[in-house]
């Protein structure tokens, strides 16, 4: 069941569009903001609310990079591996993150603290290489800088 605040936030979004289905992505993001990810059950609830089939909603959910259909850690790390960051050495940053966290891309640390994912260009190419942790983007990464940043996310 969607909780009261999820329900209220989704209904608020409905006022912005002439069509119920248009809220699909927003609704999935609202659920994810409250629960960290979108479970099968939550997906069915969103579908029922918007008059869509669960398969339609899943088709949308799995299309977008930032909707998680599996549980994630408390903080999701999106490390940029696009071209400017690649030229500036993001390969080494990715390897450092994997080694330090002890997970591969897509993995979650055993303590549930971090999930590591690659991401498309974060639009801070002037300070490449870069990564986003939660909602904050960090540039000018070196392995040492990465360690310092991770300390800020308990």
């Amino acid at each position: 069941m969607l909780n009261d605040s999820e329900q209220r936030e989704i209904e608020e979004e409905l006022s912005r569009y002439p069509d119920k289905q248009a809220v699909c992505v927003d609704a999935l993001k609202i659920v994810q903001r409250h629960r960290g990810w979108v479970s099968d059950e939550a997906l069915k609830d969103v579908a029922a609310l918007l008059g869509m089939s669960p398969h339609e909603v899943d088709g949308v959910a799995t299309f977008y990079n930032l909707i998680y259909r599996r549980p994630v850690g408390r903080h999701v790390i999106h490390v940029c591996d696009s071209v400017s960051c690649w030229v500036m050495g993001c390969g080494g940053i990715c390897e450092h993150l994997k080694a330090r966290l002890g997970v591969g891309m897509g993995g979650t640390t055993t303590d549930g603290r971090f999930t590591l994912l690659p991401i498309v260009c974060l639009g801070v190419c002037d300070v490449a290489p870069a990564m986003m942790v939660g909602e904050t983007t960090h540039g000018g990464l070196t392995p040492e800088r990465v360690d310092e940043i991770l300390e800020q996310y308990p």
């Binding site: 569009y17 999935l28 977008y64 030229v87 498309v120 260009c121 639009g123 002037d126």
Partner: protein
């Protein structure tokens, strides 16, 4: 030199609020357009300025607006959409404008909506731009409080609501018809064209989709005139351009310069040249989906037509520099890995062709390439080219590939002959 896009941006400081922007002359253009100009007059002014779309394709903005059906029986409502889904690798210009002066974008949208008769507008923003999101939400609320958004704008009887839609991430959303599907809450696959969005767009209604930088140019054009705007440029495309440079240069960054500034000036003067120990080998001039240019092109003027004549595209105007200590095959592999991953999967050449290209490039880079691979890559560059796929994604994806095969042929051969990457 005048910098109408960035003159009020102070990096590191909060953007001007409504009162601050108004003190700098902000919203005078919106006032003028709403109170003194008919929609047709606004469209004429934009046409006369020769403003071309800054999202990458360079379509004439005024012409696009004039394609919205006019008259009593024309379909309504019509929509304005701001494409703020900046996901072209190597591109970081729209973020700078939205974080630095969000009111200029809102003002541009008010004028554009007036021109096309839209009462609802959406900003389609990529989710990762959380700082932009906060700045825009604040600017929208402030403009509403001052009577520039909402009902009965400045007492004219016209209305405009701007809604901000934060996306959930996918490169293809930047393609305008895919963006419309995304806004409708669907999978962001492109639509068949024609019909084009100015006639049949969002929910089947006439829709104009414009990039952030394009819309930010609108208030200064209305305030200071088309002729002034033309005079800013070093080419026949009007205005200034936000150019960017990333890679191993001394000062990566972003500069607003006359449209048609040469690549040499931008890289050598503004980005202060290559870092010590690195030499320039090439550049993708306007994001991941543009053809490589090399040293012989350094004196090229960066405007839409000049770059096209040299065999590439101005694209977003944000360059990624390839240096002599970075493997060109590795760089192209990185680009094609990105495209293979982000292909929406709707049409077969793109969905199946790009992963094939990526695997071959990886094999070459890993020292497992064979001579026939070059032929297969060339074939893909042809078969994924313009007209062969459902949208412009795959043709864009093979632009850096086809030009790398041309300019860095010797590097590909060395990988295959030596069975290793010479840079590793």
């Amino acid at each position: 030199m005048e910098r109408p896009l960035t003159e009020h941006i102070r990096p590191g400081q909060a953007p001007p609020d409504f009162a601050g922007y108004a003190r700098l002359g902000g919203y005078e253009a919106a006032r003028k357009a709403l109170l003194e100009m008919s929609p047709a007059e606004v469209i004429e002014a934009i046409k006369a300025s020769n403003l071309r779309g800054r999202g990458g394709a360079g379509f004439a903005t005024g012409l696009k607006w004039s394609l919205v059906p006019q008259g009593e029986n024309a379909p309504r409502p019509r929509y304005l959409v701001c494409n703020a889904d900046e996901m072209e690798p190597g591109t970081f210009k729209d973020r700078y404008l939205m974080e630095g002066n969000p009111h200029q974008l809102i003002e541009g949208m008010i004028i554009a909506a007036h021109a096309i008769g839209a009462e609802t507008a959406y900003i389609f923003l990529r989710a990762e731009y959380t700082v932009s999101e906060r700045a825009l939400r604040k600017a929208i609320a402030e403009a509403g409080e001052q009577g520039f958004l909402g009902k009965n704008l400045l007492g004219t009887g016209r209305s405009l609501e701007i809604h901000l839609h934060s996306s959930a991430g996918r490169y293809i959303c930047g393609e305008e018809t895919a963006l419309l599907n995304a806004l409708e809450g669907k999978r962001a696959v492109p639509r068949a064209k024609p019909p084009f969005p100015p006639q049949v767009g969002l929910w089947g209604k006439p829709t104009i989709v414009q990039n952030v930088e394009t819309l930010c140019n609108v208030p200064p054009i209305i305030a200071r005139g088309a002729q002034w705007f033309q005079g800013l440029s070093h080419s026949k495309d009007g205005g200034t351009k936000l150019y960017g440079v990333s890679g191993r240069v001394n000062r990566p960054g972003l500069w607003e310069l006359p449209m048609g500034t040469t690549m040499r000036e931008i890289i050598e003067e503004h980005a202060r040249g290559m870092r010590d120990g690195y030499r320039f080998r090439g550049v993708i001039p306007g994001g991941a989906s543009t053809d490589f240019l090399v040293e012989e092109h350094l004196d090229l003027k960066l405007d839409f037509d000049s770059v096209a004549q040299a065999g590439s595209r101005l694209g977003t105007g944000t360059m990624v520099v390839l240096d002599d200590r970075t493997c060109p095959v590795g760089m192209v592999h990185n680009l094609e890995l990105f495209f293979a991953r982000e292909s929406c999967g709707w049409c077969t050449p793109c969905r199946d062709g790009l992963p094939w290209v990526e695997k071959i490039l990886r094999a070459i880079e890993d020292g497992n390439g064979v001579e026939d691979d070059i032929g297969i890559l060339r074939q893909h560059a042809r078969l994924l080219g313009p007209g062969k796929t459902f949208c412009a994604f795959a043709p864009g994806a093979v632009e850096p590939l086809q030009s790398a095969l041309k300019y860095f042929a010797g590097d590909f051969d060395r990988h295959i002959k030596e069975k290793r990457c010479p840079w590793k």
